[in-house]
């Protein structure tokens, strides 16, 4: 790596950190329960807006997985999300009415909180509709994984986004509060992911799944990225570059093996495609607060109005992590 490009990346990282630092003023603390942390807590960071119906299951799922404390930013919810979260014993909540888009889609806020509270702790950064699955997650808590990563000197763990969808139109199976969303969105695409290496930041660029298959056949380049690095042992010098897709310093992006072996990895089951989706897409489109001028949502809306079924003959029905590992979507690596 040339000195100049190294320096450029350093500048870029510092700019991101500085942005996050400046936007700290947009956050106001609602509840702070960090005093009740255990010694080495595993933390979950997330930004949300109007996700009340999803919250009970979200919290339950991650508590069971082994998250000790939730650090959340509420971006101007008006559906009771904020009040609900403020009452939860293991949630520290911030709130902001500022622009989601100008905060790099919430990442500036989260990076500030990560920097302040995540130092030398394992931090999981996910959206409210993303559910982490990792090797042995049925029998081993998240701490078993982080302990193992610690012992192997690894600071990042990748979990690719896996879009889950129901069979039939989304509105036909309404989601109930507290319900496991994957009782409805049971299906996924197992083998249509395009992978290439991003030479600059050295991360893998993964695109595919039902969204690419249905909504982005005209312009595959614009299909959403599925590569994610959600679990990180945080250091104040780290920065997420674009959502949790890639990081700086770029060595953190080397979650894959290039010489032929497999490193351990997981999946983020994405419960986006439920009956709540149509309303969400409308709202986001109106607000224009998402990536690429909400192009993604525009494409979805077209798809939805035409009542397109995401399901196809070759859709796989989700069983468990072992199935995902057999299909080659994630790996145990050398964790046995």
């Amino acid at each position: 790596m040339g000195l100049i490009s190294a320096y450029r990346l350093r500048l870029r990282r510092q700019r991101l950190l500085w942005r996050a630092f400046r936007r700290r003023r947009e956050l106001s603390s609602v509840t702070n329960r960090m005093a009740s942390w255990p010694a080495q807590p595993i933390l979950l960071f997330s930004t949300l807006r109007n996700e009340r119906i999803r919250l009970p299951y979200f919290l339950e799922y991650y508590r069971k997985l082994g998250i000790d404390h939730f650090v959340l930013v509420d971006n101007g919810s008006d559906d009771g999300s904020r009040e609900y979260l403020a009452a939860e014993p293991d949630v520290s909540l911030w709130s902001t009415g500022a622009s989601y888009k100008r905060s790099r889609f919430g990442m500036d806020w989260l990076m500030h909180l990560l920097r302040r509270h995540g130092r030398e702790k394992w931090c999981l950064t996910v959206d409210v509709d993303e559910f982490l699955v990792f090797p042995f997650c049925e029998t081993r808590p998240l701490r078993a994984l982080t302990d193992w990563l610690d012992s192997s000197g690894t600071r990042t763990f990748s979990a690719m986004l896996l879009d889950m969808y129901p069979k039939g139109a989304m509105h036909e199976q309404p989601y109930r509060e507290g319900q496991n969303p994957f009782e409805i969105a049971q299906y996924f695409d197992s083998g249509n992911y395009s992978i290439r290496r991003n030479p600059g930041l050295r991360n893998l660029w993964i695109q595919g799944g039902p969204r690419a298959r249905l909504y982005f056949t005209e312009d595959p380049k614009e299909a959403p990225a599925m590569n994610k690095i959600p679990l990180v042992k945080w250091d104040p010098s780290y920065a997420y570059v674009s959502s949790t897709h890639m990081m700086l310093p770029r060595g953190l992006n080397l979650v894959y093996e290039e010489a032929g072996g497999e490193k351990p990895s997981g999946c983020l089951l994405h419960a986006k495609f439920l009956d709540t989706f149509a309303a969400k897409a409308e709202e986001e489109l109106r607000r224009g607060q998402h990536y690429a001028e909400s192009q993604e949502y525009r494409a979805y809306r077209e798809g939805i109005t035409r009542e397109r079924d995401l399901w196809c003959n070759w859709s796989e029905k989700y069983i468990n992590w072992r199935q995902l590992e057999t299909l080659g979507l994630m790996s145990k690596g050398n964790w046995a």
């Binding site: 395009s194 992978i195 590569n227 994630m330 050398n334």
Partner: protein
């Protein structure tokens, strides 16, 4: 018992040993904070046979671990005169069988020292390359803190040819750190007249805890049974594998006496194995091989991975000549133009999944004209051409267990060609020049046909040239159209034999060839228009189609 973390578990295990009548001396890393030490001492205060040794700071790979072992061992031999055997364990070791069973086992092997002890020449298990050199180089720098200095100094010594002399009478042996030695052997080692010399020497040996007792036990003439009674497995980077609750059944089957290392929060394991009510029984010899397979597979997955899989944590870019795809597949060029219903015949004859032109300009022609194939692969040409490698490797990976074949011609998107040429799994069969047959039959204006023929010939010639380069790894066979038409039977039979060896006994008819009467004139017309049709070969002016098709339909003679 050497301890440094998870002291609550260490305390429970110490109590377990003590309850079975085994005195325990604990060495606690001196870097453990005082509050934790006090907690451990308090937890074990009621046990008079559990004591603490003088403490040293332990750093992995250095003599401090041997020093700690010597301190604790000396103490246990002095303070408990009845002790006849000393078992070295760690705070993360867990006895898997009742202690009484271990005692009975040891009683059956009187005066035997259970210590893995292998000469450096024969050792196969060290990770990281240093075997013999552990004993002949110096290691003054910390591997953990000053990795570059450590590595640099090793390289420097190698280059300068500097070597330490191994003390006379000492043959370096390596083995697991966890041993069970007799009082007699230990006293012979600890009270050895040359002990100071030994210690001085081993102070500069790399990872001496795997060689100090292992070498000296040999020197003092112990009766060595070279195996460890502690089940301990290392991964490819030399770190011990960790056992979790879900290993319970596997651990049971090993019949090992002690296992390491146990995850401190593996509650089920601790509850199960520290249960004082477990009755001792007459059980078989330890057979750690049963767990080896699991860990060997894990190492293989980490080092080699699943061939042909490209995913978020496996993206081979530095493989030299290896398979790029998950399984062998067939690539056919020209055959479908030359034969009537070639697809149907090939599918039947080879029991493979036969696709059309996967890389056709309009869309991917999957078998049975499906719009979506296994794994959710779309037939969209845009998606495919956005990343043709992913498209093909996905297709092959998704249909593991079923042979894939597809057609590939000069009219298809050619970006995948480089990949095909470099993949040893690709079996590429070409009838060159056959692309002209559909042109000839198309009835389009001749000027158009001539331009198109020239274009396709150029593309195909480039593809064939690529395949003939020395770097090509694919299996390639090229016939020109003229040669192939003259004797199509033998090549077709060979193809079937190669793709489906089990079909040898069957006597299937071969596909019928399209009627090529008058094709020679077409070639001549191309020539007359100034094109030079080279890929077709010298096409015969007289062609007996009836004879060819009779030959093709004649069943194969049983061999």
């Amino acid at each position: 018992m050497l301890c440094h973390t998870a002291l609550n578990r260490a305390a429970a295990v110490a109590r377990h040993w003590a309850a079975a009548g085994c005195p325990v001396v604990i060495h606690l890393d001196s870097r453990v904070p005082e509050a934790e030490r006090a907690g451990l001492a308090a937890a074990l205060a009621d046990l008079s046979d559990v004591r603490f040794s003088r403490r040293v700071a332990c750093e992995w790979g250095t003599f401090s671990l041997v020093e700690a072992t010597i301190l604790a061992t000396t103490q246990i031999l002095q303070e408990f005169p009845a002790v006849d055997r000393v078992y070295l364990t760690s705070g993360s070791c867990l006895p898997l069988r009742p202690i009484a069973e271990l005692q009975a086992y040891l009683a059956a092997y009187p005066d035997t020292d259970f210590i893995e002890s292998v000469t450096t020449a024969d050792v196969g298990w060290t990770v990281g390359g240093l075997n013999k050199e552990r004993f002949t180089l110096r290691f003054p720098f910390s591997w953990r803190r000053h990795r570059r200095l450590f590595d640099g100094y090793v390289v420097l010594q190698r280059r300068l040819g500097i070597q330490r002399r191994i003390p006379e009478g000492l043959v370096p042996h390596l083995g697991s750190q966890w041993w069970c030695l007799t009082r007699k052997t230990l006293e012979a080692i600890l009270n050895h007249p040359e002990r100071r010399r030994h210690d001085r020497y081993f102070r500069r040996v790399w990872i001496p805890d795997e060689s100090y007792f292992q070498s000296l036990a040999r020197k003092v003439g112990a009766k060595v049974e070279s195996r460890s009674l502690t089940l301990s497995k290392f991964d490819f980077q030399g770190r011990p594998h960790v056992f979790y609750d879900d290993h319970l059944h596997l651990l049971r089957r090993t019949e090992a006496f002690v296992a390491r290392k146990i995850w401190p929060e593996a509650k089920l394991l601790y509850d199960t194995y520290l249960d004082p009510t477990t009755a001792s029984a007459n059980r078989p010899e330890p057979s750690p091989g049963k767990i080896d397979r699991l860990f060997a597979k894990a190492v293989e997955r980490r080092v080699k991975g699943r061939p042909g899989l490209y995913m978020q944590s496996r993206f081979p870019t530095r493989t030299r000549g290896g398979n790029r795809s998950a399984a062998p597949y067939g690539v056919f060029s020209g055959f479908a133009d030359l034969f009537v219903d070639f697809h149907g015949w090939l599918a039947k004859a080879t029991e493979a999944r036969v696709h059309g032109h996967l890389f056709a300009p309009d869309r991917a022609h999957f078998a049975a004209s499906e719009a979506i194939f296994k794994g959710g692969l779309s037939d969209s040409a845009n998606l495919r051409d956005y990343n043709p490698r992913s498209f093909l490797t996905n297709l092959i990976w998704n249909s593991r267990g079923e042979r894939q074949c597809f057609q590939f011609g000069p009219n298809d998107a050619q970006d995948i060609a480089q990949f095909l040429a470099g993949d040893p799994n690709a079996n590429i069969l070409i009838v060159s020049g056959a692309f002209s047959i559909p042109l000839w039959r198309s009835g389009r204006p001749f000027a158009e046909i001539r331009a198109e023929a020239a274009r396709l010939q150029k593309v195909e010639a480039e593809f064939i040239a690529l395949l003939q380069e020395p770097e090509t790894k694919a299996r390639v066979r090229v016939w020109n159209l003229a040669d192939f038409v003259e004797d199509p039977v033998e090549p077709l039979r060979q193809i079937v034999d190669e793709l489906n060896p089990r079909a040898e006994q069957r006597q299937e008819a071969l596909p019928q060839m399209v009627d090529l009467s008058g094709f020679a004139q077409f070639i001549q017309n191309l020539r007359n228009q100034g094109m030079q049709p080279v890929l077709m070969g010298d096409f015969p002016t007289e062609l007996d189609m009836a004879a060819i098709n009779t030959a093709l339909s004649r069943p194969r003679e049983a061999r």
